[in-house]
Symmetry: D2
Subunit: 475 residues, 4 copies
Amino acid sequence: MLAELRGLNEECGVFGIWGHEDAAQLSYYGLHALQHRGQEGAGIATKNGKGLLVKKGEGLVNEVFSGDALKGLTGRSAIGQVRYTTEDGRGAENVQPLVFRSTTGSMAIAHNGNLINAKELKENLEKQGSIFQTTSDTEVLAHLIKKSGRGALTQRDCVKKALSMLKGAFAFVLLTEEGLMVAQDPNGMRPLSLGKLGDAWVVSSETCAFDLIGAETIRSVEPGELIIINEKGLQSDRFAEAGDRAMCSMEYVYFSRPDSDIDGINIHMARKRCGKQLAKEVKIEADVVTGVPDSSISAAIGFSEESGIPYELGLIKNRYVGRTFIQPTQAMRERGVKLKLSPVHQVVAGKRVVMVDDSIVRGTTSKRIVKMLKDAGATEVHVVIAAPPLVSPCFYGVDISTDSDLIATGRTATEVCDLIGADSLTFLSAEGMLKAIGRPKEMKNCGQCLACFTGEYPTDIYADTVLPHEKELAR
Amino acid sequence: MLAELRGLNEECGVFGIWGHEDAAQLSYYGLHALQHRGQEGAGIATKNGKGLLVKKGEGLVNEVFSGDALKGLTGRSAIGQVRYTTEDGRGAENVQPLVFRSTTGSMAIAHNGNLINAKELKENLEKQGSIFQTTSDTEVLAHLIKKSGRGALTQRDCVKKALSMLKGAFAFVLLTEEGLMVAQDPNGMRPLSLGKLGDAWVVSSETCAFDLIGAETIRSVEPGELIIINEKGLQSDRFAEAGDRAMCSMEYVYFSRPDSDIDGINIHMARKRCGKQLAKEVKIEADVVTGVPDSSISAAIGFSEESGIPYELGLIKNRYVGRTFIQPTQAMRERGVKLKLSPVHQVVAGKRVVMVDDSIVRGTTSKRIVKMLKDAGATEVHVVIAAPPLVSPCFYGVDISTDSDLIATGRTATEVCDLIGADSLTFLSAEGMLKAIGRPKEMKNCGQCLACFTGEYPTDIYADTVLPHEKELAR
Amino acid sequence: MLAELRGLNEECGVFGIWGHEDAAQLSYYGLHALQHRGQEGAGIATKNGKGLLVKKGEGLVNEVFSGDALKGLTGRSAIGQVRYTTEDGRGAENVQPLVFRSTTGSMAIAHNGNLINAKELKENLEKQGSIFQTTSDTEVLAHLIKKSGRGALTQRDCVKKALSMLKGAFAFVLLTEEGLMVAQDPNGMRPLSLGKLGDAWVVSSETCAFDLIGAETIRSVEPGELIIINEKGLQSDRFAEAGDRAMCSMEYVYFSRPDSDIDGINIHMARKRCGKQLAKEVKIEADVVTGVPDSSISAAIGFSEESGIPYELGLIKNRYVGRTFIQPTQAMRERGVKLKLSPVHQVVAGKRVVMVDDSIVRGTTSKRIVKMLKDAGATEVHVVIAAPPLVSPCFYGVDISTDSDLIATGRTATEVCDLIGADSLTFLSAEGMLKAIGRPKEMKNCGQCLACFTGEYPTDIYADTVLPHEKELAR
Amino acid sequence: MLAELRGLNEECGVFGIWGHEDAAQLSYYGLHALQHRGQEGAGIATKNGKGLLVKKGEGLVNEVFSGDALKGLTGRSAIGQVRYTTEDGRGAENVQPLVFRSTTGSMAIAHNGNLINAKELKENLEKQGSIFQTTSDTEVLAHLIKKSGRGALTQRDCVKKALSMLKGAFAFVLLTEEGLMVAQDPNGMRPLSLGKLGDAWVVSSETCAFDLIGAETIRSVEPGELIIINEKGLQSDRFAEAGDRAMCSMEYVYFSRPDSDIDGINIHMARKRCGKQLAKEVKIEADVVTGVPDSSISAAIGFSEESGIPYELGLIKNRYVGRTFIQPTQAMRERGVKLKLSPVHQVVAGKRVVMVDDSIVRGTTSKRIVKMLKDAGATEVHVVIAAPPLVSPCFYGVDISTDSDLIATGRTATEVCDLIGADSLTFLSAEGMLKAIGRPKEMKNCGQCLACFTGEYPTDIYADTVLPHEKELAR
């Protein structure tokens, strides 16, 4: 399904590299591979012998870094981020990496995730005189590091102390005087992988960035681990004991690129197995299977393979829809102008269609696509979702609306099916999903976070924990 | 396969609309749907009560028409074009529609195709005092219309007389004092369809533009037909007898969008049948089938379905690669940075892979992809091409290089296979392709042009006929 | 006064260079010096061994040629133009140089001026089958050259024959197979100078372009002269007998830059003498003299020097007002927001002010400035105009509105004075202006065109002669 | 003289408005009037009922706020800044207003000036755990305000306490929960004026911004004064006793616009009197007086009026030189291409020229202009400077290079004259300047800062005080 159609957004993707003469340009390509994780802002900070350099802005990676923008970013180490921000630009100051300059040394930070004790930490920091220039959690970490440094601690110890105070989901990359630092929350909730490019070390939210630049995937960053990379090489340290692993299920289901691997499991293959599992869980009499592009294609292929119903391109995504695109008026939209998806008439006309999608958020998009298929002549439209229903908000960095916005909250599949106008609606069972993804069975929930499907959160949730989009709105 | 990787380019796409208050904006969406046919230039001309208005420029549709650009284009009729031009901008004056202003009335023309007697016509016109401001064939038609008008002919008769002098492949849309005129060459070599949107008439190179704006497909424009649409309605006329139908095969194989239909045959379905046919013609022992995105996906699905070998996403296309993208250096490319396609390691590692593509031009890209798959661990790579080998240049508007550039010219499949480093290479037979596409068997070559596969051209070819890209170079 | 405030616009400026390795870049600087003559479009065409290259677009010189735009313009000869066009972009196709491509050779043309028999010539050409893609006169010349070439004439003879058919004011630069050609109309109505830069020849609408690039001014191009510059050097030829010289008076009064010379007379000095002459013709009791920037500064200095009344900066021009500037709403403007000119309170408060301007067109701007000065505390505002009143339209390339728009047409100075709210209004006498500018007395009107002041046109005017801005509107 | 030619740069200009429905747009026009004070960055922050909104970026005001950029800035109060930053963009994060967000309320700050104890303050703050995201002094104030707030102080008291810790030159505008706050350092070194627009209050670095928006100038902000404007009206408070007034002399001499007033003295008039005074102090036999545009025009007019030597436009500034301008190569420059100033040959050829300028920094520009005039035929060039020689660096916000870069440091006028190749060189005496500007004689140095002329600084200078451009370089 299409992220932009329904406001189901990842907060961002991060990338880092140490020890390569083309650090900035490789970061550019790395961020380009992560572009699907955030299209609203991008930035790269590099470190040369003299200090930190940073270039960031609103827009796509290739918009922010046009012309000679990369040339000024000298140095053999770099970190970068791509970011999703709110539409009115109020978040412009949140574009990362954030850079903190100090008489004793500077630091750049990029972050993916969401802290659940950010409000409490901020209030404490403000009581101690800290001021904030952004609404992002990233700045909280910088303040904590600085406060930790009042004694005679090394920078590494300050960072560890600061990280240990954070609750929630996070993947941090820091570029400091001591080197490139990489940290993952104690539950390992957001993907973060370590790779090697010749003698250089690279880290990335997804391994697809490694493939694009020709780097090799080494391993995932461990829960609670702090990796420091500098002239002495790579050192693995810990700032916290590893808790129960709780990797975000939606990374497998929806966010990550099909060519990425998380903990050694390929996303396309996992999705395809979910599609197959779905076909085992439900029997549908139909003529064609079609996926909602792009993220549901793999599951649709799997459903087709297992069910024996032919897989077809029943829906086509219109590329080239950029931000400068002139939107159709409401009147035009009602008269049938459709920008993002087009049905393929000959594929669906007179056919019983299985429409595979990865999720239903508010239901409005599903309803529109079902109608589109029926208008194109489909005699039946059976919606199958290659994941369990979304019923609870996410506090860990996925911008899922509050539960009142989630159509499946408090409704049966039949009720939802009626609302979206489909002939049937089937969700993959949670057990089926876990089995199909194939993470270790000995872990709790196979090491996955199921909070948005079950409402059971792997961490404490505080009374004042706010959803990601609420932070953006805070002033 | 990726057009931009190999210089196999369509010249353009055209769109027209008559009788709608949102003529310009609907043209904008129509051209947007045709964007894949040309990304270098775009333009729209409208006609209001007072005269012709035109806005055009280099870039994508949403770049040329940003901000308020559409607002000035008032009027209830419009034509537009998207265009591929040469990289150094020398063709900037060729961006269409071309507008010709006259004391007795003005005219806008947009064109898809290539005239094979353009040089001769131009020389004759120049002898009669005509001057040319572009290097495009479109200007030739305007001159011929004007010259035809010296007697007491109506504009329609002038246009018919002028069209009758043209040889080659063409689909013209004209916006004149007498209305919207639409013409197709006597062999009907380029796709051009007629549709209806409420009371308004629409024409388009591809029917996907109709789907996007909610219009209904009526029929193809006939070979040798001139359609005039004005206040009196639609009138069908002829400027020439219909010759043997010779629709460009590459439209089915490669150019058109999968959701378009040509002469009632859906592109995705045709390609899928080609893939199935291919699987009937060759038996390969393999573990996975993968298509080279985007245009070979349908054939790969068909091959998988017929062969029973699972279809997988073995290659991922990197989106977001725009013109402002900073290209990797040669050194980076050699070290493995790959911008446009990434292999999916877990899908191909240790597997025997069937790689389905739609064509091989110079062979360099195929070689690169084969290597990419093997580097990712594929034990065998069997290349299957869902079309016959390209061996002859095209004079009808497809920018296929001269035959010396075509790797298959004068080489056996085995020789080509060796050059691209594959374990086997199979082309679809011409008969198989014709059967799979499924056009009427009673027509010669089922009404398809096979020139690039066979060297047999459906029209005369003149000694001075030049290839499309040679025209751009002429000064 | 400010051109943009009142629609008194020059049509353009032209530049040419032959025989310099930096031809394109020097043209860029030359056009930059001529930027005040047209801010709406700019273009440069160069000629290298292989053909013509052209780059043009809407906007300022430094906007059209940003980044690497000049790099593609190779060759040792070039022509260029800056241009004023209508605001709605309909004239986009009129941006020059126009390039005409032919199987026997190509040609680029840039033009400053206005033909008065363009309509007749166009109609004749259309009867012979010519078609037009622009609304500019320039295209007429290209057609005439082509038509002239049907016999066995050399290109030079064709150009001469074509030029001889043109009536009106024109300064042409052509880049052809035979070299750089430069022509001036038989009355020499628009400025055009010849210069030398080392071994290279340069031509320009104004000599300020020579100063900027370090070239030396040689002489004016003669009325009726055709200069051909090529490998054989410079040859002076004629296409017509020289008529009575009739150099545009408004070039001295308003258009040209103060550092340019026309026929050896410096513009600043001529304007200053006009101011002095004005002070001789009228005695005003006042405290300060101020000029309306930029073009009236010189006359104000002269008025001050002759009258002994101190010269002050009573009005300041706001720079940085570009096309992207957000205009104030009408309400804001009424509340006093003034973008282009600000009064200097301390200079004018409590003072009797002589406000020197160079012309009054519709009177609205003068009225606004008088009010602005009075609002700032001026006790009296005496408007003195360093030229005679504008009473007749110009058919030679200056976009003066029709006479009904000219406030001075059919009104006495006293009546105009009342309309603009000044305490007195004085125009310079025509004799005084001629004497002050100081061209040869033995020529008729000292070799100046006085048509806009007197209604006596130096050439025939045809029934169908149209004003420049009417051409832009023609479709 | 031209700021961009010699690196004599003001740090910025600030603007604020309270109580107007068009707060953002009026700020836009106000900043536009202050554009000469900084062309590298611009920003506006507004306050509506819900919080602070900010939009800022690199470039001119009309570049940063293009399209709909102003529409999102709702609210009835606003502050803004235009800024000069270093050329390599490292200062991008320094573009103001800076916004600080807090759980208890947010704050925006814009600043003009330079703190001389910034380093010490920063180090102290860092010791207390503060972190810095910019290299600007502005952030120091924000931290101090926050730290001051740990007790039970009101926001106003916190701001007062914080301001009282600052040493140096500063003009601050703050937009906070309590309203618009405006502060001036105890010596009143940078200009800052208060005005009224209907019921709304406005503040600006220069009064020319008031004129442009139709506001009335009320008075200067007093040294040591803190003005708070909110729903209760305007309240004047103090954070420090007023010290000796020490208004920057270079504001009169060079920075401010001629139509601005400082402490009731008009800049143009002050400069003209300086020119007159200079003509009293030195007698030169010469034929023409010319000023180096734009800032020396007023002094040149005064010199001419007093000396009786005619004032002429001997040098013309080329407008339209924007940042995207393609710079001439060194070779071109040596061959005479001159972008910024052109001499007017007929004005200077064969003449003895008095060239009036406002300052000499490194001397390279003066040398170039003298040569330009001589190359244009001037027989003698007498340079007169309407200010005393610059011999000492400025620590208060003017980017004058260290004294080793100042050509007049340790050299007599005769020695400097030889270096720049003039026939004579005269500086205005310090007494003459003070008298001509005409501030109150009873104040020390008439209430002006003369540090750059005398090396006597009106405040203490610390061992670790750094020049403005050194801050930009700090990381």
